[in-house]
Amino acid sequence: MADITTRAQLYTAMAFRQDVQIMKFGSATVDAGGFTSILNITGNPGTGTLAGTSTTQGVVPTDNDAGFPPINAFVAGNTGVLDRVHFGAGSQAAQWWLYDLLFKAGAYANNATAVALSSQPSYSARLPVSGGNPVYVGLQIWVEIATAMTGTPAWTVTYTNQAGVGGRTATISPGVVNPRLARMFQMNLQAGDTGVRSIDSVTCTGATVGTFNILVMRPLWTGRVALNNDGDSHPPSRTSMPQVFDTSALYLVMSSDSTTTGVVPEFTFGIVNRQSVSSPNDDDFIAACATRQEISWLRVIARTTTAAHNFSMLDIAGSQSGGVLGGSNTANGVVPDDTTLGFPGVNSFGGLNGYIDRIHFHNSVSSRMKLVDLLFKAGTYNFNNGTTTLTAQPSYLSRLPNGDAKGLQILFEAVTTWTGTATITVTYTNQDGVTGRTTPAFTVSAPIAGRIVAMPLQAGDSGVQKIESIASTTGTAGTFNILVVRLLWMGRCGAAGDGDAHGPYRSGLVPISDTAALYPIVLGDSTSSGTPEMQIGVVHL
């Protein structure tokens, strides 16, 4: 098994990175300061199911399960690591944790008494190896509420510890009355233990209603969203490059500062694995600096926005003038590219591969900024459009690394200001080519011009290959586009005038096409977009 052990290997791996995304568009009421799962909230990937499916054996969840982002296969026999995380949230300060969910047993009844497990599937293949042996140290046992409970439950689990000693006992009596759906509690291992090999039996007391699961998880990463619309970008020095697997079930847990999950938490997890080739490496990227293209993008006036929401700046005066918000084709849609008005021209890569290796960004207001490749645009549709079935849609798959449609997002974009609430349904072909998939219920209250809202995908989906139909049935005035985008980068301007320079590790050397329609999106903390600026370094090699 080959690990990434040198900087040169890391750069090579970065050039082949997969960016795995988790976004949530719904929200839920939670207990301030309590741990909560967001698996069951609508988003992208589509909703997952909290309730476990086996109480007597348990299961080892994988990336293929509903609600978890799929991970592409690694180079055979090689290991992967988490090398970069972009994250942010539209509302709600919270601490976030990422785990690999190794084992799940449930859903157990509130009065489960010494329910014994047998023939439990092993998760040893999902653990780092030391001295030829899987490392169980550091694994944690958690309780996850599958349906809201009544009473003040307490749990006891017997388990086999990190050294293979059975009959050990973990307990937790959190003293929480009527724990909510998705609430989580970490269990205390028996004195002297530091990990867990298997769950052997489960008991719950003190509750009269509700169900729960028992989880075994391996912690990977943590990050803090300190205030509304906050976010950050963690390079390898802050992820510490924990090992992940191409079957890992990436599972987010939050602890909100308040009583809601907030809306639109979004995470991009960069996963790299040792490649079987040795280039491009760090030397190649240094050499490529000599022919870098510097793309400047800026706006000289601000747009009125809604606090902490995504807004387009395409039609605002600045560099690359002439952009038009309204889409030009409702029947087929179009694939915008770097020659489309309002988008920066990208020089030809001459058949080579291109990467974003550095972004300078600033804004006159505190805000978040994103950069996406606008792959598809259909519109302009009226609020009372009814259903439009698209035909002969142009394909954007050639703009994607390996033609991989996972992680792509469907966005609603208000062209003109709405009166009333927009209710939009999009039917699409998912990342695997399955047609007839439908976005869950989606409404936006009176969006103003330029507002962009990400739409959730159907449960089990994690991307989109094609838009099939678009329906709008409510509102009394307003027009909109439907977009498909690939997220490339996120950054945070923490104060007016703030910004940063993200080098290769934080930009992530994200690969782009030389026809990419680079489309910045701004999320002001208040009601102005500010006058944002970006300088995007693009290298090809």
Binding site: D282, D283, I286, A287, C289, A290, T291, R292, Q293, E294, I295, S296, L298, V300, I301, A317, G318, S319, Q320, S321, G322, L341, P344, G345, N347, D357, R358, H360, H362, S364, G494, A495, A496, G497, D498, G499, D500, A501, H502, G503, P504, Y505, T531, E533, Q535, G537
Partner: protein
């Protein structure tokens, strides 16, 4: 030697040029969050704000007063290796290559046509005019809000392109205004004519700038260093006219100081 690896970069760093720029005076009375020239402010390398040619313009270089003189690259390529920067107040600093300067124009100049303009193509990587931006630099403060109309040749060599820009407020001394280009244009090969109307007092220059680097000082008195990962080893030329501007959180430019390393190989 070509810089194409860690080893060659390290070798180039061993003989790196260190350039320093500091300002001992501040420009006050500015509008927060707007870009301002430091070109003529007291300190090292004091330049003159007012341009010297309205009918041809000039291509400033490293020997122009106000810019920093660079040593020869001996036929090799140069790159910005690191920037050490600080400010006495919170704000941003941007370093550009000043490619072209025409002025000083009056507030009421109408269709001043330029001819025989010197070319700056050799100061653009890959001769890519998309990296060239159009700016107005206020030489003396305006009374009234001016409307600037500039006719230019775009990045593809199409002449007669025209852009009109009116700022939100009357530009103060040293204020820099980014001028959006006409719809569909992404860069500028040449300035062809300049007009200004509406205002009753004020003079200005027209600049073409190539942005090289930008950095943020979040707290008064703070300093930071950007290494090659953040500068991106952006290409510079031995004749580059390095031009520093600031964008402050308040109305005072503070005292910027900047030291940068230029490698060649």
């Amino acid at each position: 030697m070509t810089i194409n690896s860690k080893a060659t970069l390290n070798a180039a760093e061993a003989v790196r040029q260190e350039l320093r720029h500091f300002k001992s005076g501040a420009r006050t009375g500015q509008v927060a969050q707007t870009w301002v020239s430091t070109f003529d402010v007291a300190g090292s390398s004091i330049g003159t704000l007012a341009g010297t040619s309205t009918t041809q313009g000039v291509v400033p270089d490293d020997t122009t007063p106000g810019c920093l003189t660079m040593q020869s690259f001996n036929g090799n390529q140069g790159a910005l290796d690191y920037v050490l920067f600080g400010l006495s107040l919170a704000g941003r600093l941007r370093l550009c290559d000043l490619l072209f300067k025409a002025g000083a124009y009056n507030f009421n100049d109408t269709n001043v046509t330029l001819s025989a303009q010197p070319q700056y193509t050799s100061r653009l990587p890959n001769s890519d005019y998309k990296e060239a931006q159009l700016w107005v630099e206020t030489v003396t403060a305006f009374t009234g809000i001016p409307t600037f109309t500039i006719v230019y040749k775009n990045e593809n060599g199409v002449s007669g392109r025209s852009t009109t820009y009116t700022p939100a407020t009357a530009p103060t001394l040293g204020r820099l205004l980014y001028i959006p280009l006409a719809s569909g244009d992404q860069g500028i090969q040449q300035v062809e004519s300049v007009s200004c109307s509406v205002a009753t007092v004020g003079t200005f220059n027209v600049l073409v700038l190539r942005p090289l680097w930008v950095g943020r000082v979040p707290l008064a008195g703070m300093t930071q260093t950007h290494g090659p990962d953040k500068t991106g080893l952006v290409r510079v030329y031995e004749t580059s006219a390095l031009y520093l501007m600031s964008c402050m959180d308040g109305g005072n430019t503070g005292l910027p100081s900047i030291q940068f390393g230029v490698v060649s190989g």
